[in-house]
């Protein structure tokens, strides 16, 4: 399966009467976006605001971040099974408005979380302080049930991103990157002397505000399966996860999975990237047993020499991570795990909720319990009500000038457990 990803670099975003891209500037029509979002009668208000790098702007609470993309050639269309019809994707040509995002924000539930600062000392902890963001602040109708609101919010973001992505359809990309993974036997034969490496991508799947969808299928209801890495670049996986902002894998992160990106960079050089095993992180322990058995079976079945595993979240998923690590290792495949850590504010406690002896090689993406200072910003997109009770905030954390202190885990993707961040821990 071969995908050409045409990267259209965006250097500014502005409002206009219609939505288009010209000379690296993304122009968006506010009215059309609002109309699109309000097609869903579960939502009563949609306000579009723009946020650019360096501005004194704070965005909160953030639900999802999505990179606008459009499929210009090949089967299927972006976000299959969710926005567009169910059809295999990952082949042909896709255009991405690189450097821009669509961000959905607004109150989802009573506890608030997920901050993006576009400037100041905390901007460096999130990748979205460096992107040109089209923010859609949504508001549900009175009394809307939480599941319905989550679904409405998720769909609003994906619809807007698909709409904005269309602006890139007829634009000549600044760069075209080609990714290719062949059917298994051909892929192994292409680089017979290089180690065969795979990637186990664990999808959050615990329930409300903790869900992920593959071609529209709720991940808690599937069993582990094989995926061509390019499928994910066409939106085969979308996020429905709204908790734990620091290690939330947004839809943007699925589209731009850094493990897949890096494995492709080394593909044919010092490793042979065979493919991705998708699995879940269910609450039911019997599901964990079944799915980790199957992950190990698939790794052995396709003859991997080594693989990387990433998780999403803390606690329950740590058990899946460890079961996958242990069983894959015992089946004869070497494992490196990638995760973030929660060792307490002093850094002295156990950083994961579970551990096995087989987990002896780990890449850390940093720890979420550190306290950081958030200076006041000129403008807030969304709301900063109840800062003291935000996840990561605490009683008395807010000052009279609107600045506050909070744990790093309040920032979107600050310790994301797939490495799409700038934090790490080293052992000396």
């Amino acid at each position: 399966m071969k995908l050409e990803l045409g990267k259209i670099y965006i250097h500014d975003v502005q409002f206009a009467d219609k939505t288009y891209v010209e000379n690296g500037t993304l122009f968006v029509c506010k009215e059309e976006i609002e109309k699109l979002v309000l097609e869903d009668d579960r939502l009563i208000s949609a306000r579009v605001e723009l946020a650019r790098p360096g501005e004194s702007v704070r965005i909160a609470p953030v639900k999802d971040v999505i990179e606008p993309r459009v499929k210009v050639d090949g089967p299927g269309a972006i976000f299959p099974g969710v926005i567009n019809k169910v059809k295999q994707v990952g082949e042909g040509r896709t255009h991405a408005l690189v450097g821009s995002t669509v961000i959905t924000c607004g109150r989802i539930v009573g506890f608030q979380e997920g901050v993006i600062d576009m400037s100041g000392p905390t901007a460096k902890y999130t990748p979205f302080s460096e992107t040109y963001n089209v923010c859609v602040v949504i508001e549900p109708k009175e009394g809307l049930e939480t599941h319905d609101y989550e679904a409405a919010g998720r769909m609003a973001g994906l619809k807007v991103a698909t709409y904005v992505g269309e602006a890139g359809r007829n634009v000549e990309p600044d760069e075209i990157v080609t990714y290719e993974t062949k059917p298994l036997l051909e892929q192994i034969a292409q680089y017979p002397d290089l180690p065969k490496i795979g990637y186990v991508h664990m999808l959050q799947s615990q329930g409300l505000l903790h869900d992920t969808f593959y071609y529209g299928v709720d991940a808690k209801k599937f069993i582990p399966t094989l995926m061509y890495p390019t499928e994910i670049m066409d939106g085969a996986i979308v996020s429905g996860n709204c908790v734990a902002p620091c290690d939330k894998v947004t839809t943007y992160h699925h589209l731009n999975n850094p493990v897949i990106e890096d494995l492709y960079k080394r593909h044919g050089k010092d490793l042979n990237f065979i493919g991705v095993i998708l699995t879940n992180e269910n609450v039911f322990l019997a599901d964990k047993e079944r799915c980790s058995d199957m992950v190990a079976k698939l790794a052995q079945f396709i003859g991997l020499d080594g693989l990387l595993i990433t998780e999403e979240g803390y606690g329950n998923p740590d058990t899946d991570l460890m079961m996958n690590c242990k069983k894959v290792t015992q089946a004869g495949t070497k494992v490196v795990i990638i995760t973030d850590e929660f060792p307490g504010r002093d850094g002295k406690s156990q950083s994961l909720a579970d551990a096995v002896p087989e987990a002896d090689t780990m890449v850390s993406c940093g720890q979420g319990n550190i306290i950081v200072h958030f200076p006041a910003m000129d403008h807030v997109i969304g709301t900063l009500d109840f800062v003291e009770t935000m996840i990561g905030g605490y009683e008395g954390c807010i000052k009279a000038d609107g600045s506050f202190d909070a744990e790093l885990q309040i920032i979107i993707a600050s310790t994301i457990a797939n490495g799409f961040n700038k934090l790490a821990a080293r052992t000396y």
């Binding site: 329930g207 734990a244 929660f342 060792p343």
Partner: protein, 132 residues
């Protein structure tokens, strides 16, 4: 299946009180639920759900539900459940030490109940839970 649900979430209690044996006290803390579940494990019960289910951490949500059973659905290693529950209790203390549970307004408490309920709904809808 001889199941018991240990919970401090009234929404779970109301929903499943006729289906499961319930251990429910609205006044229980998250730790009380973990400790009660540990008691059951010592009495020979098996964990059916992960004690730290949900990404909302023990110093963030007041609510916790855990389902245990006299039967086991897996071929788990000996003492796995005890290790899991003890590790969960250790994790609880680690988080609470760093930052106590906020005094949430009722609106937030209700959202936390809804999330906890949803985690359990995913489990109870599993066909294997209807095995007799």
């Amino acid at each position: 299946m001889d199941n018991v649900m240990v919970t401090n979430n009234c929404r779970c209690f109301e929903k499943w009180k006729d289906i499961f044996q319930m251990e429910f006290e609205e006044g229980w803390t998250y730790l009380d639920v973990l400790t009660k579940a540990r008691d059951y494990i010592h009495q020979g019960y098996h964990l059916l759900t992960h004690p730290l289910a949900g990404s909302v951490k023990p110093n963030q949500t007041p609510f916790k539900s855990i389902i245990l059973s006299k039967d086991t659905l897996e071929d788990a290693e000996e003492f796995r459940d005890l290790v899991l529950i003890e590790d969960s209790i250790a994790a609880y203390h680690k988080f609470i030490k760093g930052k106590p549970l906020p005094d949430w307004p009722e609106k937030s408490r209700e959202d936390f109940r809804t999330v906890d309920l949803s985690l359990m709904e995913g489990v109870v809808s599993n066909p294997i839970m209807n095995r007799r």
